[in-house]
Amino acid sequence: MVAIEDIRARARTLLESGEVRAVLGYQRGSAGTLAEPAFLTEPQQAASLVWDPTCIHNLALYLVNEKKRQRTQRSNDKRPLAVVAKGCDSRALVVLLQENHIDRSEVVILGVSCEGGGVIDPRKLTRALAGRAATTVAMDGADAIRVGTASGETTLPASELLADRCLECARAYPELYDTLYGDKAEGRSYSPRFAALNTVAEKPLDERRAYWNAHFERCIRCYACRAVCPMCYCDECVVDSTEFVVTPNTSADEKANRIRWIQRSPDASESAMYHLVRAMHLAGRCIDCAECERVCPVNIPVRLLNNVLEREALEAFEYVPGTDPGLPSLISSFRDGDPNDFVR
């Protein structure tokens, strides 16, 4: 069992000693069932930390965002950030380390194991409760989740509430940490890896096209999926037609010559372009935290686009993202034996 008191105590010590700039964890919010990201800077705030299956957010994102923030705020507090990291979050940290985006010394990882459980999919929860709001959500063993509502408590099978990614996750514990909370539970998975992907991938081509066209048509291109992704840390993204990295040396020509690969218009074709480019850019980098899919306000299965490349990377190139910070990345490496049959 993950003892939240231990995490709190650790957070408190870290803050008391001034070893870290802040502790990133989870706290209860006011907006709904989900926990929300917490930024603790004072030791006494440690008491507000929580840990339960609503702690969905991949907090690795905030290491990235805080870095940007420090830059705009011109802060030079070099102390590390402590971050509560689940298995998937820790894999994101690995990718960030692999890409030199963060340095190991910049982060203190409070690893938490999902211990055979995982986090919920808020949409599944809403459906299961037929719209009622949940007040508490807790794992009840590895296979059930207790959900409290205003009208009492119910226990539901975990497989009905857990996020797809958790159902498919075989390594639900941090790969990289400074301190670990909970036990590494090996080899659990409710559904096979890529189960959600396969349901779509197995459709006939025409159906797949219709399926994706409908989704691309619906996308409002708010880019929440990008904003939430810890790997989408570029200052300038190919999809932005107006945002650019402006430095004192940025010339007029550089700005004028920004390539508009993608128009801002939320047409299906432009959205498709956006999603495919994003998927390609995340090939070998996406660690399947599925945050992109969760935050999409119009429920586009963004995760599957990343999943399909993740599966290919695994099957064709035996590449698993987020495992080793020392490894070259998927697309900056190759092996002689890579598939060649598809080439004419």
């Binding site: 919010g29 006011s30 907006a31 709904g32 989900l34 926990a35 929300e36 990201p37 930024f39 957010h57 994102l61 905030y62 965002n65 923030r69 705009t72 705020q73 949409r123 459906r127 719209g131 709001a133 409908a214 989704h215 619906r218 409002i220 708010c222 880019y223 929440a224 904003a227 939430v228 932005d240 037609s241 107006t242 945002e243 650019f244 402006v246 430095t247 004192p248 940025t250 007029a252 700005k255 508009r260 128009q263 801002r264 218009s265 939320p266 047409d267 945050e291 969760r294 935050v295 306000p297 119009v298 429920n299 586009i300």
Partner: protein
């Protein structure tokens, strides 16, 4: 006028209307509530919660071509305006908060300089509202911002669900036309109905909702605490995704860009698309200077625009309490809590 429509006649009404206009109603597609066209004869189940996507698209689509240009000869470019001439549309199931948002959008787009694109669409859309019997979302707070579960502002018709039937009240001439188009389907509303409507409305009002402090308190509090460090603190988790404003029924910011469709000769469209004050580049100058360069100042812009500036400019709050920005914020940023914490009310 007020009338009664038996629930089983809703389909017929819609069918009647379909002959003269495109009819839209809430639709649940891929787990998301939005508005979709109603096929003739199809059911119009008006049992939706608060739609995820507000009906502002009908008057302010996410993409609007302002005009097309063609520069065959650089001395004489051709410009073709594309002010839309939409077919009439009837939108069913609009919640009162979204109706009230229309009033706010009108203020932006039609007071002073009239936006012809908005106007052209607005002229052709009729909003048939549906009173809430209970807050459709746990984050509703319409009553705190001057609305109510049966507010009529901005709507052309208000329907109230009663036992087995709808009470239908027309609010504008255009609304009346909708009824007139199918007079025979409606029964006259009697006094009993009126009483029942009153009771339904009262019950809906009595339902507990989230509450936001009064307009005066908020205005005053936000002014007093404009420079509060709390903005930055509360916005620290914000990822700048803009879901809050894209989904807000009364957010209206937009961007204008040229989209090239051909290079020889140069041809393209000047396009207006939704934009978002939560995006970091929203206010960034060419020099890189950004007047709102952190999430704190951007959150302040959103909240203050809704609850302070709009009041200062138009005398009313822009927020209608639909709660979407709270529900859909991926990191739990909550306009009510933020306002209360910053404004210290």
């Amino acid at each position: 006028m007020e009338a009664i429509l038996q629930k089983d006649r809703l389909g017929q009404w819609v069918a009647q209307l379909s002959t003269r206009a495109r009819v839209f109603a809430p639709a649940f597609v891929d787990d998301v509530w939005g508005y979709g066209p109603v096929e003739t004869g199809a059911e119009v189940p008006l049992d939706h919660g608060n739609t995820t996507r507000p009906p502002k698209n009908f008057v302010f689509p996410q993409r609007e071509v302002l005009y097309r240009f063609r520069v065959q000869d650089r001395h004489a470019p051709q410009i073709t305006p594309t002010v839309p001439e939409p077919e009439p549309a009837v939108v069913f199931g609009v919640r009162p908060c979204d109706g009230r948002a229309m009033v706010r959008n009108d203020k932006v787009f039609t007071c002073g300089v009239v936006d012809p694109y908005y106007q052209a669409r607005r002229d052709k859309v009729v909003f048939v509202g549906l009173a809430c019997s209970a807050p459709p979302s746990p984050n509703c707070f319409c009553q705190s911002v001057g609305g109510s579960p049966h507010s009529e502002d901005g709507l052309d018709v208000l329907m109230t669900e009663l036992e087995g039937r709808y009470h239908v009240k027309t609010l504008t001439a255009r609304g009346l036309e909708l009824l007139d188009a199918a007079r025979s389907l409606f029964d006259d509303a009697g006094a009993a109905d009126a009483g029942e409507v009153e009771r339904a409305h009262a019950a809906a009002r009595a339902y507990p909702q989230r509450t936001l402090a009064s307009q005066e308190q908020v205005v005053d509090g936000l002014k007093r605490n404009f420079d509060s460090p709390k903005w930055a603190e509360l916005a620290r988790a914000c990822i700048g995704c803009g879901a809050c404003t894209y989904l807000c029924p009364s957010c209206h910011c937009f961007d204008i860009n040229d989209e090239i469709t051909g290079t020889s000769p140069l041809a393209g469209e000047r396009v207006r698309t939704w934009d978002n004050c939560q995006f970091p580049d929203f206010t960034m100058h060419s020099s890189g200077h950004n007047p709102r360069d952190d999430t704190g100042s951007r959150l302040r812009q959103r909240v203050a625009h809704k609850l302070l500036y709009f009041v200062e400019n138009h005398g009313i709050q822009q927020c209608t309490g639909c709660g979407r920005c709270i529900t859909h914020c991926p990191v739990g940023i909550d306009i009510v809590r933020v306002t209360h914490e910053v404004a210290e009310v």
